[in-house]
Subunit: 152 residues, 2 copies
DNA sequence: TTTTCATGTAACTTGTTTAGTTACAAGATG
DNA sequence: CATCTTGTAACTAAACAAGTTACATGAAAA
């Protein structure tokens, strides 16, 4: 199952907590994955201007805009709007009228579900996710993000 | 992409139009696929009692209940409730509080979308799909289902 | 200027899932 | 008993995300 959105949000919040630029290496360790995966995930966000990257000493990744100004819908689009719905039609543009009727019914429902998701995404900012994270940290009694992960 | 629901609905409506039992062979031709695919698709529906199958001469597939009594939700469940949403979490039960916050936000949205789909499915019967199909047939001026497919 | 660090990106491998295919056993009808 | 049809397992093919490896590019430090 596609976990790119989940992954990239995780990365972004870690970045936001990080003092100064965070390298792909650092982020990859926090996510138990590979630096190249981080770079691949972030490519679209960089192009859209949500994050910045720099090469060489002291380089790495930084937020380029405030968390308040970035919604989940922005992040989702920056990933290339990957498929949300797992069920599709057997064929688009079928000649068979039976299949047309089936497609019409399913399309209507799936479009509504997709619209619902995008609506909600557009109403959640990275800042609100960050607030939720800090609330969880208080609830647990952790003082730093470093206490909060052991590889995951 | 998973097109089993689309496929099985297509099969069911063809079956409903068919005089007497329809063989897997016949249905497979109408769907441009293989008889074994039809049998595999229908296995769950047979177990749930929505369709009947018979071996030997004059055998094949028939509806076991009126179209009016079968909803898309019934069919969906008979398929084993395959995944509706294509995006998931990187890991369930993460230790990382960042990931917990991300998961919570995504889960909430995805659950809502899934509930919306299932709600709609439960309100659409095979009979209503069939009515839509017949309306399309009238609109096109076809007199028989046989005019409506050339392999699809 | 040379070394080191870090990103950018392509290519390949792996794992998972659906669809399609083949083959054949089991059972029902003529 | 011959034929038809389902039931099911096993295999292949195609698609796709994720992980991995490798190396070119470019920036900072020594």
């Amino acid at each position: 199952m596609d976990s790119r959105l989940s992954g990239v949000l995780h990365v972004l919040l870690h970045m936001a907590e990080h003092e100064g630029p965070a390298t792909s290496e650092t982020l990859a360790r926090a996510m138990s994955t590979n630096p190249a995966v981080i770079r691949r995930l972030m490519a679209g966000l960089r192009e859209e201007g949500y994050v910045r990257s720099a090469k060489g000493h002291g380089g790495g990744w930084e937020m380029a805009r405030p968390l308040e100004e970035i919604t989940l819908a922005d992040v989702y689009r920056a990933l290339g709007s990957p498929t949300l719905i797992a069920m599709g039609n057997r064929s688009e543009q079928p000649q068979c009228l039976v299949e047309q009727a089936v497609n019409a019914a399913l399309d209507e429902t799936m479009s509504a579900a997709e619209a619902l998701v995008l609506d909600r995404f557009s109403e959640v900012t990275l800042a609100s996710l960050s607030r939720d994270f800090h609330a969880r940290m208080l609830a647990r009694g952790s003082l730093s993000i470093k206490d909060t992960h052991n590889g995951s």
